[in-house]
C-alpha cells in the first residue's frame, strides 16, 4: 500500500524532452492507467517510477519519502513487462522466486509464497516448467506472479496484454480486474488500448507529447474532456469533429457542413469546432430541424451495433453514427443526422473545451 506523488517530473534524452513536467498523485490502493498515443512518454514515465531510468528533474515521492535516488528493488515496486521478460533458463518457480532469493528470504518462505501466488494465478501445475514450454497467456500469468510474490506496495504494468491475442486479452483483463479487487494494492497501468483503461482504472491519465492532458475518472474523461485531444482520444469510434463556419454562433446556433446545430449552453469564447460522439447521433428524415443532411457512404455491421458513415453535404469528411442493433440502411440513401443540442461539445481554436455535453443516453433524441 502506498501513495505516489510526482512533482514536476522531467526527462530528457540528450536534447529531446520526453517528459515536460508531470504532476500527478496516485492515491493508496488506486488503479491508475496512463494512456496516450505512441511516443507520448507513458512508458518512459513508468520506467522512471520503477527506477530503471533516472529522472532529469523533479521529485518522486512514495509514502512521503523522496525516492529519486533509491534503486528499483528498494522502492517496493514490482513491474510486469510488455515482453514478460521471464528468465528463459529458470523454471517458473525460480522465475517467481528470484527477487526473494536475492533479498535473502528463506527457502521455505520463498516456496510457500511462490505456491500461494501460483495457486491464485492457476499456474501451480507449471511451476517446474521453463518459460518456453508455456503459452502466451501462461507466460503472462507467470510475469504477474513474479510481481505478486514480492508483495510490492505498487504494481507497474507496461502494456501487459499487448502481446496476447484478442480473446486472451479479454480474459487476462478480467483476471487483472479480479487481482485489483483482491489485493487492493496501488497499481499503475500503461496501455494504448482505451478499453483496458476505461474498464480497469479508477483514474486515467491522458498523456500527449510529454504532458498531462487530463486526469480523471474514466467517465469524467468521456463526458467532460477538457480539450479536443482528450475528446478525440477517449471513446470508440472516436468523436466526430465539425468545423464551425465563420467561427461564431448566431443566437446559439452554429453553421457546420450539412446544416445548422443549436447549442444549449452558449460558449464564452469563439467556437471553432463542435464535437459529437457517434453514439449520441441519430438518423432522421432529410431536412429535419437541428439535423445535418448527407448521404450514407458506407455501413459496418457489428451485430450489436451498426456504424453508419454519412458524408455530409458540401464536405469531404464523413461522420460516424453508431446505431444500436442491426439496421438495414441502403448505401447512397439520403438521410438527416439529428444532433441533440445536449450532446454537443464545443471547442475553441486552440483546442480548449468551451462547452461540454451533458451525460446522456445513447442515440437520445
Amino acid at each position: 500500500m502506498a501513495r505516489l506523488e510526482l512533482k514536476q517530473i522531467r526527462k530528457s534524452f540528450g536534447p529531446v524532452d520526453v517528459l515536460k513536467g508531470i504532476d500527478l498523485t496516485v492515491e493508496d490502493g488506486e488503479f491508475t492507467a496512463f494512456v496516450g498515443p505512441s511516443g507520448c512518454g507513458k512508458s518512459t514515465l513508468l520506467r522512471l517510477i520503477c527506477g530503471l531510468d533516472e529522472i532529469s528533474s523533479g521529485e518522486m515521492i512514495i509514502d512521503g519519502q523522496v525516492v529519486n535516488d533509491v534503486p528499483p528493488a528498494k522502492r517496493g515496486i514490482a513491474m510486469v513487462f510488455q515482453s514478460y521478460a521471464l528468465y528463459p533458463h529458470m523454471s517458473v518457480a525460480d522465475n517467481m522466486g528470484y527477487a526473494l532469493k536475492l533479498a535473502g528470504t528463506s527457502k521455505e518462505e520463498i516456496r510457500s509464497r511462490v505456491e500461494a501466488a501460483a495457486k491464485v494465478l492457476r499456474i501451480s501445475d507449471y511451476l517446474k516448467r521453463k518459460p518456453r514450454q508455456l503459452s502466451g497467456g501462461q507466460r503472462q500469468r507467470v510475469a504477474i506472479g513474479r510481481a505478486i510474490v514480492r508483495e510490492p506496495q505498487i504494481f507497474l504494468f507496461d502494456e501487459p496484454l499487448s502481446n496476447l491475442d484478442a480473446a486472451l486479452r479479454v480474459e487476462m483483463r478480467i483476471e487483472i480486474a479480479r487481482m485489483k479487487e483482491r489485493l487492493g494494492t496501488t497499481m499503475i497501468y500503461v496501455t494504448h488500448d482505451q478499453i483496458e483503461a476505461m474498464t480497469l482504472a479508477d483514474k486515467i491519465v491522458v498523456l500527449n507529447a510529454g504532458k498531462v492532458e487530463q486526469i480523471g475518472s474514466p467517465l469524467d474523461l468521456y463526458n467532460a474532456p477538457v480539450n479536443r485531444f482528450v475528446a478525440g482520444f477517449i471513446g470508440s469510434p472516436r468523436m466526430n469533429f465539425l468545423a464551425v463556419h465563420g467561427g461564431r454562433h448566431e443566437g446559439g446556433r452554429v453553421r457546420v457542413n450539412g446544416g445548422t446545430v443549436s447549442l444549449n449552453t452558449l460558449p464564452h469564447d469563439t467556437p471553432s469546432e463542435i464535437g459529437v460522439r457517434p453514439e449520441h447521433l441519430q438518423l432522421c428524415a432529410p431536412g429535419s430541424s437541428n439535423a445535418l443532411d448527407g448521404r450514407i457512404a458506407m455501413t459496418e455491421h457489428l451485430g450489436s451495433d451498426t456504424y453508419a458513415y454519412v458524408s455530409l453535404e458540401g464536405a469531404e469528411e464523413m461522420i460516424v453514427v453508431r446505431l444500436e442493433g442491426e439496421r438495414s440502411i441502403r448505401q447512397g440513401e439520403q438521410v438527416g443526422v439529428f444532433v441533440n443540442p445536449d450532446a454537443v461539445h464545443v471547442f475553441s481554436a486552440d483546442g480548449r473545451t468551451l462547452v461540454s455535453a451533458k451525460p446522456m443516453a445513447r442515440n437520445a433524441a
Partner: protein
C-alpha cells in the same frame, strides 16, 4: 536455395559435392590408412589403396618411444589455459561493449578489431622483442599471452554480437528484482549464453592448438614445446623417413580437437548461427 527437383540438377549437385569431398577427405583418408600400414607396405613402389595388414605399431611407437605425450600435454596446457583465459576476458569485454554506453566505446572496439587486420607473422616481429624485454620468452605464460592477443578480438566481437541480442527488458527485470550488474551478468546473461561461450572457447582452443609459428619461435626448450613444432622437429628432417610414425602422431595430435567437436558440435552450430535466424 538451389532447386533440386530435376534429375540432372541432382546429379550435377551430387558430383560437385563428391569432388569437394574428395579434395577435403582424401588427405585425411591417406593419413588414416598410412598410420596403420606396415613400413614395408608404406615403402612399396605401388601404393595400396587399403592397408593389407593393419597394424597399430606406429601408434605404440609414437606414444612410447618419442616425446609425443609430453608435447601433447604441453599443448593441452597452453591451449586450454589460453582458451579459458581468452573466453573469460571476451565475456566481460563483449558484455560491456554490448550493454553499456561509455565514451570511446566505438573507437576502442574498432581499435581492438583492427589488430585482426595484420598478418600474425608480422605481429610476431613486435611480440618477440616485447616478450624478450619482460622475460617471457621461452615460458608458457608468454606463449599463452600471445595466443590470447589473437583470439581475443574475434572472441570479443562474437560475444558482443550475441549479447547485443539479449533483450534489455530481461536485464531490467532482473534489476527491478534487485540484482546487481555483476549478478545479472552471472546469473541471467551467462546461463543463457552457453552456445556462444562454447563456440568462443573452441575457436580459441583450436587456434592455439593448430599454431606452429608462435610456438616454434617463442619456445626453444624442448620440455615446453607444443605439439605442432614437436611433430615437425621429430618427423620432418633430413635424416627421418618414418612416415608411419608421422601419420600416427598426426592422428593423435588431431584427436583432441575432433573429440571436442564431436562433443560440442551442437553448441558450436547454435553459437555460430545464433541471431542469424530469429
Amino acid at each position: 536455395m538451389f532447386d533440386l527437383s530435376s534429375t540432372v540438377s541432382k546429379v550435377v549437385f551430387g558430383l560437385l559435392l563428391a569432388l569437394i569431398g574428395l579434395f577435403l577427405f582424401f588427405p585425411l583418408y591417406w593419413l588414416i590408412i598410412s598410420s596403420v600400414k606396415s613400413n614395408a607396405e608404406l615403402y612399396s613402389i605401388v601404393p595400396t589403396p587399403f592397408p593389407l595388414a593393419p597394424t597399430l605399431t606406429h601408434f605404440i611407437t609414437a606414444l612410447t618411444t618419442g616425446k609425443l605425450p609430453m608435447y601433447l600435454v604441453n599443448s593441452l596446457i597452453a591451449s586450454g589455459s589460453s582458451a579459458a583465459l581468452n573466453t573469460l576476458l571476451a565475456l566481460y569485454a563483449g558484455y560491456s561493449f554490448a550493454k553499456y554506453r561509455f565514451t570511446g566505446r566505438q573507437p576502442v572496439m574498432l581499435f581492438m578489431l583492427s589488430a585482426q587486420m595484420f598478418p600474425f607473422g608480422l605481429l610476431l616481429i613486435s611480440i618477440y622483442p616485447l616478450m624478450s624485454e619482460v622475460g617471457l620468452l621461452d615460458t608458457r605464460p608468454g606463449l599463452i599471452l600471445s595466443y590470447i592477443v589473437f583470439a581475443l578480438p574475434v572472441s570479443t566481437y562474437m560475444l558482443y554480437s550475441y549479447f547485443s541480442q539479449v533483450p534489455d527488458e530481461l536485464i531490467e527485470a532482473a534489476r527491478a528484482d534487485g540484482a546487481s550488474d555483476l549478478r545479472i551478468f552471472h546469473t541471467i546473461v551467462i546461463p543463457i549464453s552457453i552456445p556462444p561461450i562454447v563456440t568462443v572457447f573452441l575457436y580459441s582452443f583450436m587456434w592455439s592448438w593448430n599454431d606452429l609459428l608462435y610456438s616454434m619461435t617463442l619456445i626453444v626448450s624442448d620440455d615446453k614445446r607444443t605439439i605442432g613444432p614437436g611433430l615437425l622437429l621429430t618427423y620432418l628432417n633430413e635424416v627421418n623417413s618414418d612416415w608411419g610414425g608421422a601419420m600416427a602422431a598426426s592422428l593423435l595430435a588431431s584427436a583432441p580437437i575432433v573429440a571436442a567437436f564431436l562433443f560440442l558440435q551442437r553448441y558450436f552450430i547454435q553459437g555460430v548461427t545464433a541471431g542469424a535466424v530469429k
